[in-house]
């Protein structure tokens, strides 16, 4: 492992078990997020990558296991304590999740108006700085419905850094974006992490973009961490899971077929009443 165990992780997840109904999503997951680094959580669709972010932010509670944020166990936090903790976290939702009844400016200003008593003139300056960082200062008066998908995500990014968080979580930032927007987002994520000294977590299955900026990668599959390491370690990782995912092979430990009875027997209706 390249990471120095001497520094305390920002987020430490230990033995996380989580299920939805009968479906087990996590079966004992351990993840450490180190400060100042970009950590990527990767894996095929449906492995619960987004759920992992929701657990980190306390939007969901695990069935068992411990989650420490800044060294504190958030298990018994009240909603008010969670809200306080979340002010130091920014999260970019896959859909952007902008408030549709507010303009771009008001979306970014929302948290500042809600949690501070700053005068409106100062809020204006702060909002324009955040919007400038994502290149959308000129779009401040537009409504979310007037934005393209990529602009939507950049405004959401500006909103999630409005309170200057220490940790920022990206949920599938590259999914469904055109190459130009993808390039912009990759650049922005790296830039924000380095200039604001943030801790970044990216959930994604876009290997190239993520491997380009990540410092450390966790690969999830079947509710477990099946491989982890730096991008170069992962490229050369010989384990079947890493091999399949990193090189995009259709069949492997993650089967092409959803579990089904034997093909021949199914077609011939053998065993049916």
């Amino acid at each position: 492992m390249l990471q120095t165990p001497a520094t305390e992780p920002k987020v430490r997840m230990r033995g996380i078990h989580f299920s939805r109904g009968d479906r087990v999503i996590f079966d004992g997951v351990d993840v450490d997020i180190y400060p100042g680094k970009i950590t990527a959580i990767m894996g095929p669709s449906g492995t619960g990558k987004t759920t992992l972010l929701r657990l980190m932010t306390g939007l969901l509670k695990p069935d068992s296991g411990q989650i420490f944020v800044n060294g504190e166990n958030i298990k018994n936090y009240s909603e008010a304590q969670l809200n306080r903790m979340r002010r130091s976290m920014g999260m970019l939702f896959q859909s952007g999740a902008l408030f549709t009844d507010m303009s771009v400016f008001d979306n970014v200003a929302f948290a500042l108006r809600e949690h501070t008593d700053l005068p409106e003139s100062m809020i204006r300056d702060l909002v324009l700085m955040k919007l400038e960082a994502v290149g959308l200062r000129g779009a401040r008066d537009l409504m979310p419905r007037e934005l393209s998908g990529g602009m939507n995500r950049r405004v959401a990014l500006a909103r999630s850094i409005a309170l200057d968080p220490d940790i920022i979580l990206y949920d599938e930032p590259f999914a469904g974006q055109d190459p130009i927007t993808m390039g912009m987002l990759v650049k922005l994520i790296r830039l924000l992490n380095d200039t604001l000294n943030l801790t970044t977590v990216i959930v994604s299955h876009d290997i190239n973009e993520t491997a380009e900026i990540a410092d450390y990668i966790y690969l999830l599959s079947d509710g477990k961490v099946v491989a982890q390491g730096t991008p170069s370690e992962m490229q050369n990782n010989a384990s079947a899971h890493a091999e399949q995912f990193m090189h995009g092979k259709a069949d492997g430990p993650v089967p092409f077929h959803y579990p089904a009875p034997d093909y021949y027997q199914d077609l011939m209706r053998i065993g049916e009443e």
Binding site: R86, M91, F93, A97, E114
Partner: protein, 259 residues
């Protein structure tokens, strides 16, 4: 055995939902009021109350006119048509105002509340509020709940007034009943405490029940487009049934002792 198990399970499920809904109501009703969020309440007064006015006024005017026509055809047989004012006023303030007003409100305002909240949930706007450190129960639910709770009783009072005017118009201007006897029969028979206050109490109870159902159904809706549809339907069905059932209970408590 399975049958009893299933019954027990659904009762447990119901109690759990009821407990959660009660906590939810409590948190939303007793939110610490902040001057900063007063504009949210004002906006909801407009959306829930003012925008419901046209349908309430239109419906109530016709209800009043129909009451006058129907009452007249029966009462004229006994030569009692001069008591038409009494019939119209009593049936409105005691029953039709709160019940019809509540049903219209459930269809017009509550369905919209549920759909809006469920859509906010589906588009992850409730979660992004949480992540910005704002409790959606305070920010989204509380103003809507309070607006519905305050607006419906006022809408019911307007409903009653407009319906009485509609009845007056048909009785006096069309059917030729003496305007003085229309008003005086109403004045002598409608009791302020027993009729008007009881009617207003009914509307307050209905207001709390239907707005509670609306915001709760929106909040727990499945975050899919199908889920929004189900939740909206459930709001309209449950709140209509609850209004009718509560009306029976309240009438039994309030009016059975009256002579």
């Amino acid at each position: 055995m399975n049958f009893f198990g299933a019954i027990g399970q659904s009762i447990l499920k119901f109690l759990q939902a009821l407990g959660f809904a009660s906590l939810f109501l409590f948190q939303a009703l007793f939110t610490k009021p902040r001057l900063k969020s007063f504009h949210l309440l004002l906006k909801q007064f407009y959306v829930v109350g003012v925008l419901s006015l046209p349908i309430i006024i239109f419906a109530s005017f016709f209800v009043g006119m129909v009451l006058a026509l129907q009452g007249y055809t029966v009462m004229v047989k006994f030569g009692a048509e001069s008591a038409l004012g009494q019939l119209i006023a009593l049936s409105l303030v005691r029953e039709l105002g709160p019940v019809l007003g509540g049903l219209l409100f459930a269809g017009r305002a509550c369905s919209a509340l549920t759909a809006e909240i469920a859509l906010l949930k589906t588009t992850e706007q409730l979660d992004s509020l949480r992540l910005l450190g704002v409790d959606p129960i305070h920010r989204i639910i509380a103003p809507r709940l309070w607006a519905g709770f305050i607006c419906l009783p006022m809408l019911v009072i307007i409903f009653n007034a407009v319906a009485i005017y509609g009845g007056y118009w048909v009785s006096v201007d069309w059917l030729g009943i003496d305007s003085g006897s229309f008003w005086s029969s109403m004045q002598s028979s409608v009791n302020y405490r027993e009729d008007i206050i009881n009617g207003v109490i009914k509307s307050i109870v209905f207001a709390l029940a239907v707005t509670w159902i609306a915001v709760y159904q929106g909040y727990v809706a499945m975050p899919t487009s199908e889920g929004i549809g189900y939740a909206t339907t459930r709001t309209v069905v449950y709140s209509s049934l609850v209004i009718l059932a509560l009306d029976f209970i309240l009438t039994a408590v309030m009016f059975t002792g009256l002579k």
